[in-house]
């Protein structure tokens, strides 16, 4: 029975996160006021779906081919936002899915979006396409054949980001993408109308639908990131003057 070394500060960060989370979510429940920096990607998603409805063409959605991680969780909240819009405006959405674990979860979100829009019978499971390793070939095949008018890629993107962007650019579709994978950010930054960089995907959910839970998390993440920035400054100054006390504390 004992405390594992190297996890002390780690636990401190978790406890601080939970404390700020509880405080910020209850404050939001009481006062209802919240400020989240404007993320223009959210409006672009709506614009893309609007354009697709005007042109009577489908919209394409992909999570990328990376392993299942928290990026997909952020993608789920953006998907439920986009799926609700598609259900309302009767816009067809085709999803390319590479990971098996995402099939049941995506199925649940799309099913819920159509039932909330009062059109449960329009939910079409055939547009949720599990493709496994062939995701990229099937994706550009679909984008070209269906002439999609908007292309959304959120999650753990790999080289499919440049494929999707350039394939949809041939239909001059509106494109919004987001990932935390640093190696793909250049391709979506260069080719998309709007992008979410890493943490922005998570903050977007709070901007779309500020619930106490989401507001609490965004404020908790913000405050701890600010603390980390301050620690970077203090730590560097201390190390410059020869003391690594702060570093040792953080490795406790």
């Amino acid at each position: 029975m004992g405390f594992k070394t190297g996890s002390g500060f780690h636990l401190l960060v978790l406890i601080a996160y939970i404390a700020i989370f509880v405080y910020a979510s209850s404050r939001f429940r009481r006062t209802g006021e919240v400020y989240v920096r404007e993320l223009e990607g959210v409006k672009k998603i709506e614009e893309g779906i609007g354009r697709a409805v005007e042109m009577g063409r489908p919209v394409h959605w992909s999570y990328g081919t990376g392993a299942f991680d928290a990026q997909h969780m952020a993608a789920f909240s953006l998907l439920s936002y986009a799926a609700k819009l598609c259900a309302q405006y009767d816009c067809r959405m085709i999803l390319s899915i590479a990971l098996p674990e995402l099939v049941p979860m995506t199925d649940e979100i799309i099913r819920k979006a159509y039932s909330e829009a009062g059109k449960p019978n329009q939910y079409n499971p055939d547009d949720i396409r599990f493709l496994g390793g062939s995701h990229n070939a099937a994706m550009i095949g679909t984008i070209a054949r269906e002439k999609v008018a908007a292309n959304f890629m959120f999650g753990s993107l790999f080289y499919e980001s440049v494929l999707g962007v350039e394939a949809a650019a041939m239909n001059n579709a509106i494109q919004v993408a987001g990932t935390a994978n640093t190696h793909q950010l250049p391709f979506i930054a260069a080719g998309c109308d709007s992008i979410f960089i890493g943490a922005e995907m998570f903050a977007a959910a709070t901007q779309i639908e500020p619930t106490p839970v989401r507001v609490g998390s965004t404020y908790a993440e913000d405050w701890i990131t600010r603390t980390m920035v301050v620690l970077m400054i203090i730590g560097s100054l201390m190390v410059t003057f020869g003391s690594d006390a702060l570093i040792r504390l953080m490795k406790l």
């Binding site: 392993a67 390793g133 790999f158 080289y159 994978n181 640093t182 190696h183 793909q184």
Partner: protein, 273 residues
């Protein structure tokens, strides 16, 4: 005139690109190739730290997608480890890895005369990526019962000498941006971490090399070609470096042409209305 520059059909660019990249493959030009300090340091990290009989993990976690860049790296780095007399345990968590693990096992037997089961071992595929590595850190004996070829592991002397991941000196992971490998393996005290990745995965792993969590880090085909030069055995990577030079020149030209066309037409329209 500028409108045409702004609206070139991209398929023409594709044809020019193919011609310039394929030409040197048939008639190599032999353009110079500088060796980066990063690859030199990574070479030294193995040269100084690995002694005769040291246990080393060799992660073969790439699929056909990365074969062009990572197979030459595996051959160069794996050969270097074999020359240093390390005892190598190969494994993979990416489905495509089994092909290359088997192929490199044949290279170790034929070119380096290593004996399977004594000098090196091949472990089978295990799904779950980060979860698989967590299992390796905590309970490697529990996770693996049979080797790559389906034989029971208890029959091999090398496997019986291993009790846990702590017995290993270094973990060389040849994979595309494997932060899912680094997070669990950084828990094993004293285990040196060494990564060969593709150029596109470099930015994900660069912070971990810069912070010293990894003692070695080579990147892409250039890294493979430089490592081949350091070990004195020229292979596939060196042959293709001319195509790289011409390809890069063309892409820079297209960026300039694209901007020239865009800028001139915009100025043209501005002066019109």
């Amino acid at each position: 005139m500028w409108e045409k520059l702004n609206q070139i059909d991209v398929r023409i660019l594709y044809v020019i690109m193919v011609i310039l990249v394929v030409f040197p493959l048939l008639k190599p030009i032999g353009l110079p190739l500088p060796i980066s300090t990063q690859t030199k340091n990574s070479y030294q990290a193995i040269e100084e730290n690995i002694k005769e009989g040291d246990l080393v993990f060799l992660g073969v976690d790439f699929s056909p997608l990365q074969e062009a860049e990572l197979w030459p790296q595996l051959v160069a780095v794996g050969g270097h480890l074999a020359n240093k007399g390390a005892r190598i345990v190969m494994l993979h968590v990416v489905p495509g890895g089994f092909r290359y693990e088997g192929r490199f096992a044949d290279v170790l037997k034929s070119e380096y005369g290593l004996e399977y089961g004594v000098d090196f071992l091949c472990l089978p595929f295990s799904a779950g990526r980060e979860a698989a590595f967590e299992a390796i850190v905590h309970d490697i004996k529990g996770l693996y019962k049979v080797d790559l070829y389906g034989e029971s592991l208890t029959g091999y002397p090398l496997w019986n000498e291993i009790s846990s991941a702590k017995d290993f000196k270094m973990f060389v992971e040849i994979a595309d941006a494997p932060d899912w490998w680094l997070r669990p393996m950084s828990q094993v005290p004293g285990l040196l971490l060494w990564n060969g990745t593709v150029a596109s995965g470099a930015s994900t792993m660069a912070p971990f090399y810069q912070s010293g969590q990894m003692c070695g880090f080579i990147v892409g085909m250039a890294g493979g070609a430089e490592y081949e030069a350091l070990t004195g055995k020229t292979g596939l990577a060196t042959g293709a470096m001319d195509s790289q030079s011409l390809g890069h020149a063309l892409i820079i030209l297209f960026v300039v042409v694209g901007n020239l066309g865009y800028y001139m037409t915009k100025r043209g329209n501005a002066s019109v209305n």
